[in-house]
Structure formats: C-alpha cells, structure tokens
C-alpha cells in the first residue's frame, strides 16, 4: 500500500509560502533599493521557515492543487 503523504491544505499553503516568499523575480536582493535618492522598491520579506518533516505531520483533507487552493 502506498504510504503517500496526504496533501492537506496546510501542506499546500507551505508550498505556496515557499514559492511566493522565497522565489520568483527579485528586482534586488536588498530590502530597499535607492536609485537617484528615490526609494524605488520595498521588499519586506519575512522569512518563514518550515520543513517537510513538519509537513509530514500535517495530514488531513485530500490534496487540492495550488490552482484551487490559492483562490
């Protein structure tokens, strides 16, 4: 029998957080970019740490893909 990790909403949320907070286009790695003395971009990234081993404990409802979860 498969012992597949049951993908709960919490697991999906962690997957989303991992991407939205830590991946994607970053215009600059700095918190604030200053160009010609004008603060252009404010990146206020609070790092959320999670491990898959924690996810493993979060078993519950059947997996729903990120497309559905995020809406």
């Amino acid at each position: 029998m498969y012992n597949v990790v049951t993908k709960s909403k919490d697991v999906t949320l962690l997957e989303i957080l991992d991407r939205v907070l830590d991946k994607g286009v970053v215009i600059s790695g700095d918190m604030v970019i200053s160009v010609a003395n004008v603060d252009l971009i404010y990146l206020g990234l609070k790092v959320l740490l999670s491990s898959v081993e924690t996810m493993e404990k979060l078993r519950g409802s059947p997996f729903v893909g990120p497309m559905q979860e995020a809406k």
Partner: protein, 271 residues
C-alpha cells in the same frame, strides 16, 4: 502624492487584462505595458503588506489567474514600486532579461516533488550489513584510540552508503522524468529524511506524461512518502542576470521610441 504599485508579475503581452482580477486591498489588477511585454500591478495604499497567509494567498491567486491567459514571470511577494515612471524604468532596465525568461518559460509549468524516506530504518539496515563485515575486526580487541577511529570511519561509511542509496533513487527519478521535463532543480538530502526536494519545468502538453511518470516512480518505492504539487507558475525557473539585462543607452532610446503614447497613458486615469 505618487501612487504605489504592487507588482505581481511580468507578462508576455502589452494588451490589457480582459478578466477582472482583484489583488491586495481589493484593488483591480491591470497591465502597464512596456513595448511588447507588461507589468501586472494594482494600486495600494500601504507601503508594505503584512506577511499573512491571506496576503500571500491573494498574491498567488493573482499570479495564477494571470497564468491562464499569459506567460508570467511571478514576482516575489511584497514588491512595491513608487509610481509608474519608476516601474517603466525598471522594465526598461530588465527588458532583455524579462523577454528571455518569458520566451524560455512559454507554455510551461512548474511541478514540485518531495520524497521522504525512512532514513533511520535505512541506516539500521546499512549498519546491520556493515556489522556483519566488521564483526571480526571489532571483536579482535583494540585500543580506545583505534576504536574511536573505527567508529568514526563506520559513521563515514554509513553516511556514504546512505548517499549512494539516495543517488540510486534519484537516478531512477531522472530516468522517468527526463523525457518530460524541460528543466529541473534538485536538492538531495536537505535533511536526513528529505531524500529529494525537486522542481521540474514541464511543457503544458506533457503534463499528463509527467504525472504518469510520477506514478511509476511512486510504484518503484511505495514505502517512501511523496509530495507532488503543481502546476505552479515557474517561480523556481526565472533566471535574472541583471547585468546582461541592462540595455545600452542607444538600445534604451530605441525601446523608448517604441513605447506608444497609449501605453504611457495606461493607468494614468487613476493617478
């Protein structure tokens, strides 16, 4: 007062977004075009958004809705730009990078796969096998120094064996996925139990094959645990080389000529 623009993603179109999409603070999302690409933004009042689950989900929801009609380069949460002019300036600077990425990621999705294995159990088996080989030597009696070195060496051998087993499984994954994934990024043994944390870039029309391949991988080791997620916007596959993305002055002038008056006026009515 200059309006603040919350940037969700860069899209491969200068056309307006037809579908009504609402982003953070319930504001409508629209496209600010630059040449043949665009920046999907909404106007916000707060300089920064709290990093709450709901705010992150709203951001992701916008990106995924955009993904249904456009190729999207998802932008990291909480990227706020002070005014249209600054945004256009950024678009100009990064235009080449954005174009290259949009081209590379066209019609492709990202999938995530995490595989968890019972590291303790596997280690136990390795130790058992090693003990058999080493039994005689251990029983032969040795000084505490030698015993210490032996134990150290034994631990090293266990770790190496564990890694070899991980490599073997990853090789199996590669055999199944390589045909259907355009690109991949993998991290082996991030933690002892997390055998592999992988993301794959898959063409839309190969999604079904990719999912089937995943089922094959699962059946190869049903005692492991798997987390499959996607399709996602290609968060992990956007590669910006800021230096090469910047255009020369002459190129920038050419590009600015191409930005039509219509494009410049997009969003101006809400300033």
């Amino acid at each position: 007062m200059t309006m603040k623009l919350y940037l969700y993603g860069i899209i491969d179109s200068s056309d307006q977004i037809k579908e009504s999409i609402y982003g953070l603070e319930g504001a409508g999302v629209y496209n600010i075009p630059f040449c043949d690409i665009g920046a999907a933004v909404s106007e916000i009042c707060q300089m920064t958004q709290d990093t709450t689950d709901s705010a992150v989900l709203e951001h992701e929801a916008v990106v995924e809705k955009l993904m249904t009609d456009f190729t999207v380069l998802p932008v990291r949460f909480q990227t706020v730009i002070e005014g249209r002019d600054n945004l256009l300036s950024i678009m100009k600077s990064y235009y080449r990078d954005f174009k290259d990425n949009l081209e590379r990621l066209r019609n492709k999705f990202e999938f995530g796969i995490k595989v968890i294995w019972p590291a303790d159990k596997i280690k136990e088996n390795i130790i058992k096998a090693l003990k058999k080989d080493e039994q005689k030597k251990l029983d032969s009696g040795s000084s505490s120094g030698k015993r210490f070195m032996k134990e150290k060496f034994e631990k090293y051998k266990i770790d190496k064996e564990l890694e070899a087993k991980a490599d073997k499984f990853i090789k199996v994954m590669d055999i199944f996925f390589s045909k259907f994934a355009a690109e991949k990024k993998t991290e082996k043994l991030k933690t002892e139990n997390l055998l592999i944390d992988a993301v794959y870039l898959v063409e839309k029309d190969k999604e079904r094959n990719f999912r089937e391949a995943f089922e094959h991988v699962k059946s190869a080791r049903p005692d492991f645990k798997y987390l499959f997620s996607g399709p996602w916007p290609a968060y992990n596959f956007v590669v910006l080389s800021k230096k090469s993305g910047l255009l020369r002055d002459s190129e920038q002038a050419d590009l600015l000529d191409k930005v039509t008056q219509d494009q410049i006026l997009v969003g101006a009515d809400s300033i």
